[in-house]
Structures are given as C-alpha cells and as structure tokens.
Symmetry: C2
Subunit: 475 residues, 2 copies
C-alpha cells in the first residue's frame, strides 16, 4: 500500500513540518519497539501536537481507508506498535501537557506523551506519587501504559494501570474525540476499563486522569540471598501465606545477578543462586515487626543472608539494579529476548524447572527475572543474532515457556501484551468462540479494522503472514 501524495500533504498540513517524518533516516527510529525480534518500517510518522490534531489525522486516515498504528515511547515488548501493512504511524511523543493537578481529590490529568516517572515528579513535593512503575518508567509514556495496562514491581500491592485510571480522553478509530470518566465510580459500561489493555486496537488514548497515592510513611527494602531459585520461590509462598503483602517481591536468578553486579556493583555475593528484593511499606510503627517476620520466613526457606538497605542511596542502587537489569543483560550476550508469562504463585518452582529443561534442550541460556509475588515471570533468553537460526530457536523456546505457563494454569502475558509476538499462542489460551467474542468487541469500536490491524488476534494474520520477516535479533 502506498499513500497517495494528496493524503501525505493533508497529513503534513495538520501536524506541520515539526510533526511529520518521512525521511529514511527519520523513519528508522520507528522500525521496532522493545520486542526486537521483528522490525517493519512505516511509510510515514505523524506526531500531532494535541488531541485536536490527532483527531484530524485519524479522520483523514478513516476517510481514505488507510490503516494507522499508534505509538507511545516504543518501549513495549510485544511488538504492539509494529507497522506491518500499516502506512501511517501516529506518535504521541509531542503531547506532553500536564492538564490538571488536583491534590484535594488526589488526581492528575496528563496527555498521552507524558513520561510515567514525570507524573510522580509533578506531585512529589505534595507527598504523592503515581503507583504503577514499569521498569521502563523513565522512558515509557502514559498513553502506552494505558494501551498495555502496564504493571511494575509494585503491582503486587498496588495494582496495575487500570486500578489507578480515573478516566481517559481518546480518539476513536473514526476520529471522534471521547472522554470516558471513572472519576466517580462507573455509570453504564466501564468503557475506560475496556480500552485499558486493548493494545491500541480500539482507538488512541490522548490523555488520562490518574489516581495519586500518598507516599507511605516508611519503606524498608530487604535483600535475601538464596542458594537457588527453588528456595527463593519457597520463601515467596511463605511470605504470602503469612498474610503479608509486600509492596514489591522481586526475584533474580544467578545469571541476572551476574549481569547486574557487573553493571552496577551493588555487592551481590558472587555465589548467590537467587535473590529476592522485598519491599515493605506503610506506617513506621508496624514495619519493624513485619520485617522481622519476612526475615524469618526467608531464613526458614534456606536464605543464607538477609540484608536491609541501610539508607535511601543503597535502596535506590538496589532498585536500579533490578529495574535496569534488562540493560545489563548485554554484558552476557549480544542479544536477548524478554518473555512475559504468568503462573499461579504456588507453581513457581514448576515453571522454573520447565524453563531449565527448555534451556538445556534448546542450548540457550535463559536468565530469570520475576515479579515473583505476582507469579509474573520474565525469562530472558540470551542469544547471538549472528549465529545461524539462533533467533528462530529463541522464538520457539519462548513459545514453549508460555505454553508451559498456560498448562500450569497461568497465562500468556502478565503485563507486556500480545502484540504481534504472541498472536499464534492465543488459541492455546482461548477457544475460537472466546476469540470471536473479543473480535466482536473490537468491531464495535473499530469496525473498519483500520486502527492497529494484525494485532492480538490470530484471525487477521493469515494475509500478512507471508510478508512478515523471519525473526531476527535487534539492536
């Protein structure tokens, strides 16, 4: 599909030169997201400055029957914004206004292109913060967070994006601007809820109203060292079974520890088989007792050591090690592919075993990073793109891991979405009837299918399967 010159001119008129990208070098920036196994170039990228411009762009595409795909910061890791057979990419990176800060009612309204961490910065002085904290929070934007229903380490206690979303402004696939409120409970169907996590297939979020949370009075962050991942999993179950809900409960295995220690020199013991990062927050008064109970649970699960972050600097370094673990993986292999699956918490030991078996069968090293308290695993499959066929093996191993998750009663994604990456796996989780019910829902809002086609659902893919490149490693 090649765009007519007239449409190009009209789009350029709407967004101006500053918001129009069609040079080869300029487009290269937009050829993939954090899921680097696949790439595709859009014909052009438009970057509207505000909701009105974005709506006009969508109206033009709708009128001309031209497919379009929304893109936030491109930190997604399932290829949700890849432009296969989609000429026009609509980026929200210029829409960065803070529209409203209302501390009395504990809410903030920001445009889609505002960076996640910036939201907390805006209200920090008043003692508040925005809870969902993806590892990419210093780069990812609120529009993408809504599209993916993003979580993060603190999801365990505080929930994901939809739990903190009080309303969205969005542009429907025909260009209409709508505001969907949840500020004061939900009247009629929960449309804002439907759109959250719909991966850009129902429209484009242009602004969101977010719940602000008061910063906890006190926070303690523990690091527990274990001989292996099975022992650490046992500690996770013991902590939860004791009725304790930590703010975060994260696991890293030996390979991840090796990489982050080389990168950030936190001081992880070189022989650690696995570590848990356990954060407890709440009132000062009760916290000490709670820490004691968590430490006991870890020791009973064979922890060799449990440390507390001595001060804010040490706590920050520990979290940096965890949140930037992805970046550190480059020290172990030229390429890696992050997987994202979920199992019931009580099945963590089984999935770890299954991953080890898959790792050895495929001759691929797999590092394990987990939001363990949620049962949300992030196996990182290490590889070298320059080796023949290795990328294909990575994809196959990833699919086996996710299939094992589903077999254990879990699911295909905790927080990264389906995108293009897991389309073929949807039929393992859902019957044809389930999928067709979802397609009916999509058609209710996106009847032309022009808004981010070929995502999530296997049904639409057949026609482009042949054009989709073979998997290959990315930068």
């Amino acid at each position: 599909m090649t765009l007519a010159g007239q449409l190009r001119r009209r789009l350029r008129d709407v967004v101006g030169d500053e918001g129009f990208v069609d040079s080869a070098a300029g487009l290269r920036v937009y050829e993939c997201d954090g899921y680097t196994m696949e790439k595709a170039l859009p014909e052009l990228v438009v970057l509207p400055a505000n909701t009105d411009e974005l709506s006009r762009v969508v109206r033009l595409c709708h009128r001309e029957g031209v497919p379009f795909v929304p893109r936030g910061a491109g930190t997604g890791v399932s290829g949700g914004c890849l432009p296969y057979e989609i000429p026009v990419m609509i980026g929200t990176s210029r829409m960065r206004k803070i529209r409203r800060v209302d501390i009395a009612n504990r809410l903030i309204e920001v445009e889609a292109g505002v960076v996640n961490l910036e939201v907390s910065r805006q209200v920090e002085a008043a003692g508040y913060y925005y809870a969902p904290d993806p590892s990419s929070q210093s780069a990812c934007t609120i529009g993408g967070n809504v599209a993916e229903n993003s979580g993060g380490p603190h999801t365990l206690k505080y929930g994901v994006t939809v739990n903190h979303l009080l309303g969205i402004e969005m542009v429907l696939p025909d260009g209409e601007i709508v505001r969907l409120e949840r500020t004061n409970d939900i009247t009629g169907y929960d449309l804002a809820g439907v759109f959250t996590g719909s991966e850009g297939t129902l429209g484009i979020t242009t602004a969101a109203t977010l719940r602000l949370m008061p910063k906890p009075q006190a926070v303690t962050t523990l690091l527990a060292i274990f001989p292996g991942i099975v022992e650490a999993s046992r500690a996770v179950s013991a902590i939860i079974a004791a009725g304790i809900v930590p703010a975060a409960l994260e696991m890293m295995d030996a390979l991840v520890i090796e990489a982050v220690e080389a990168a950030y020199r936190f001081g992880f013991p070189p022989d650690a088989g696995a570590v848990l990062i356990i954060e407890l927050d709440g009132l000062e008064a009760g916290l000490e007792e709670l820490c004691g109970r968590v430490e006991d649970a870890c020791r009973q699960a064979a922890a060799s050591e449990v440390r507390r972050a001595a001060n804010e600097a040490e706590r920050a370094l520990l979290w940096k090690s965890r949140k930037r673990a992805f970046g550190a993986m480059g020290r172990l292999a030229p390429n890696y592919c992050t997987q994202d699956g979920v199992v019931p918490r009580s099945k963590l030991p089984q999935i770890v075993e299954a991953i080890a078996e898959i790792s050895s069968r495929y001759h691929l090293r797999i590092a394990n990073l987990m939001h363990a308290g949620d049962g949300n695993i992030h196996p990182l499959v290490l590889y070298d793109d320059s080796n023949d066929n290795e990328a294909e093996r990575v994809v196959a191993a990833g699919h086996e891991i996710l299939t094992a998750c589903v077999k254990l009663g879990g699911s295909l994604t905790g927080e990264h979405g389906i995108g293009v990456e897991k389309i073929e796996l949807m039929s393992k989780s859902f019957s044809d009837d389930d999928l067709s019910a979802m397609a009916d829902l999509r058609d209710a809002f996106n009847p032309t299918g022009l808004c981010n086609p070929h995502k999530i659902f296997p049904t639409d893919r057949a026609c482009i399967e042949i054009k989709r490149p073979r998997p290959r490693g990315g930068g």
Copy 2:
C-alpha cells in the same frame, strides 16, 4: 407477549417442577426488587439448578426469540431485574455450590446464587474474607454483585467487586457457556471486566472466582459526633487530606440517627446533627497513632465527641446500626426511596446543601446516609404512598438530586446501577455518541437484544414507556 405452551413445557423439562414457578402467588415474589417504586410480573420464573440447565434455558429462549431477564436475590435498588415486556425470568437462587477453595492462591470459586456473606464464612477459619460488603450482604448473591459491580462501606480502602474478581463463568445471550479468566493477569481484552457492572445486559453470570483477603491484624472503629452534616463533611476532607485511608468512612445525618437509634439503641446522642463511623485497620502497632490523628481531625472539624468501640460487640452493634439503617427507616415513614449518586469528595457540603433545598421545595423529608469517603451519597426520600401524587414527587426529587450530582462533577450511580430507575437521566451524563458506543458494545454480545432488554439505555425505552406503570410505593 404470551409464551407458547410448547416453550413452557420445554423450560419445565429443563428445570423440573422444583425450578418452575408460574402460579400467581409464586410469581408475586418476583414482581420487584429493592427499587420498590415500580413493579412488573413475569409470565414465569425458572430456577436452574446448575450452569448446564441455565444454558439450556437460555438456548430455548434464544431459539424462540423470547426475551429473558436474570435475577439474583432481588436486593438490587434500581430495578435492574424488573421484567417489563420480558416473559421469562431466570433466577440463580438454586445455584449455591462452593466449587473450590484455594487458600494457597487466595481464591474461591462459587456459583452465582451463593450469598455474599457466605463467601467470607467459608474462609473465616483460615483467616481470610471477601472484601466487598454491600449493606445487603446477608441476602444479596455473588451473581448480582457481579452484575451491579457492588460496593459497600469498605469500598473506600478495598475497592468494588471488579477489583476482587479473578474470573467468571457465564452464559451468553445465545446460551453458550464461557469462562473468562483474570486469575493470572489479563490476556486479550478484559471481558470479565466488561461484564462486571453490565447489569445483566450482556449475559448471565453463573459462577465467579473471587480474591480472598487476609483479615487485618487489628481493627478500630470510631464514632465521631458532629453538630451538623457540613462539619462532618469537613472532617472527611481533613482525614483524606492527611493521607489516611480508613477502611470505611461512613456518614449518617440526624434523621438516619433518629431511626437507627429507635431500632437498635446503640446510644447515639439525641441531639447529634451528624455522625461519622470511621474504621481503621492494619497492623496493631501503627493503629493507635492513626486513631489519634483521625480523632484530632474530627475535633478540629468541630466534633463534640469521638468515641471508640470498646469491644467487638460494640463494634458489631455500630455496624448493624449502619448496615440496617435502610430497614430502620420504616420507623419514620411508611415508604422511602433510596437514591445513589456520587460527587467529588470535596463537593460533599455543596450536595448536602442542594439536597436540603430540594427537600424543602418538594415538601419531602430526606435522610442522608453516605459512603462519605467515596463521595457516594445515599439520600433516602421519605414518603407515604397513600398520599396522592407523592410517589411522583419522590421520583422527581430523586432526579433533581442526581442531576445536581452530575453538575458538581459527579455521577448518577456509585453502586446501585442504572436499571430502569435512571434511564431517563443517562443523557445528562453521556452524549448520544457515548450512548451509542455503549449500545454497540452491548450488541456485540447481545445482538438480538433478548437478554434483559429495556435497561440502562434510553434508546430502547420509547416503545414500552406507555406500558410502564406510574411510579408507586412498594412494600
């Protein structure tokens, strides 16, 4: 519409004599729900014993093109299960199995007819409970809770039904049985989320998997007495502004206090203008400090007295007074109509003023019960059905109150739904485009419109408006 004898026989074959109601006396039980201003008789009521029977009933209705309406315990208060122009009512009261209790993964799966409070009873000994606690929790059932996305006093801290829902089994309007999981995060669209709060217009919930919560280590319940409702509202704002999230924060005004004191003799002071019931929970250690801060906030907002429930018995009596306040209203007037609206917390004084003005203009006494921490108001409009035209005035006054809520930036319902009661008001909250987007969503799952027609949306009503009875008071 009169049902053909053949369909009657087939339905009877499916559910057996025990599950088939068509006598005049038997049907009378099903003529209204807790919204007693309107009534309608179904032609027959079927009570399937399990999901399979329910599915077969729906398949028969679907095949014959006969409208049907689901009904839980009939405790709803917006007429969501009223059978206007709907011959077949499908009740879930016989579906009361506890299917699965999984303490390790903190979940329970129950059938739709299980009573809300029974869920907590099942897991009490293990130290757990189910958080959403509508005032009707000793009677209302989980299927109805899902349909209405029910809340309760503890919604402030713990959220509503959808925040505790890990999956549903349901029968779609064509009779198909589907299971929609959220146990391990959400893959694809959040269909279980869409169905929650859809008031029985997208299908019939047959079972639900619910999140269990560990009982808090300690609970303290405070009663603060104020000269009037404005002072009490000020205390609400002050508590929230201090960064404290009570487990519950409830308000009752002088009229409600008068009624509940007469009924339960808790010992409310006779001259109290308003009271707050404030419950704090969490770790033992921090609670005392928190209580002190709440007490200070109340005194600074002119509370004449702040008491603590001395023991579990006193706490239980205080909550009984609050939760059964509805029942106690009969001491003040022969009839009452409960309203349900929401305003931003900071607008509580304004809505209280607006209600007082409406009360005096309509010559109707209005008592105020509120989930104040949520800004969720429940004005109780008192009246006498035997007075000419009084019921009509009650409906008009209720509509004025809700319109005032919307004008203050609030909404038409916090937790009771739209049902038939508020259909005419939907256009005050939503544009035609918004409503048509919702109708598109409904049509995706309920294309024939046979499943609970004439609810929520104004569009379908015109044809039956003339047949709808004039409002009148109920038992």
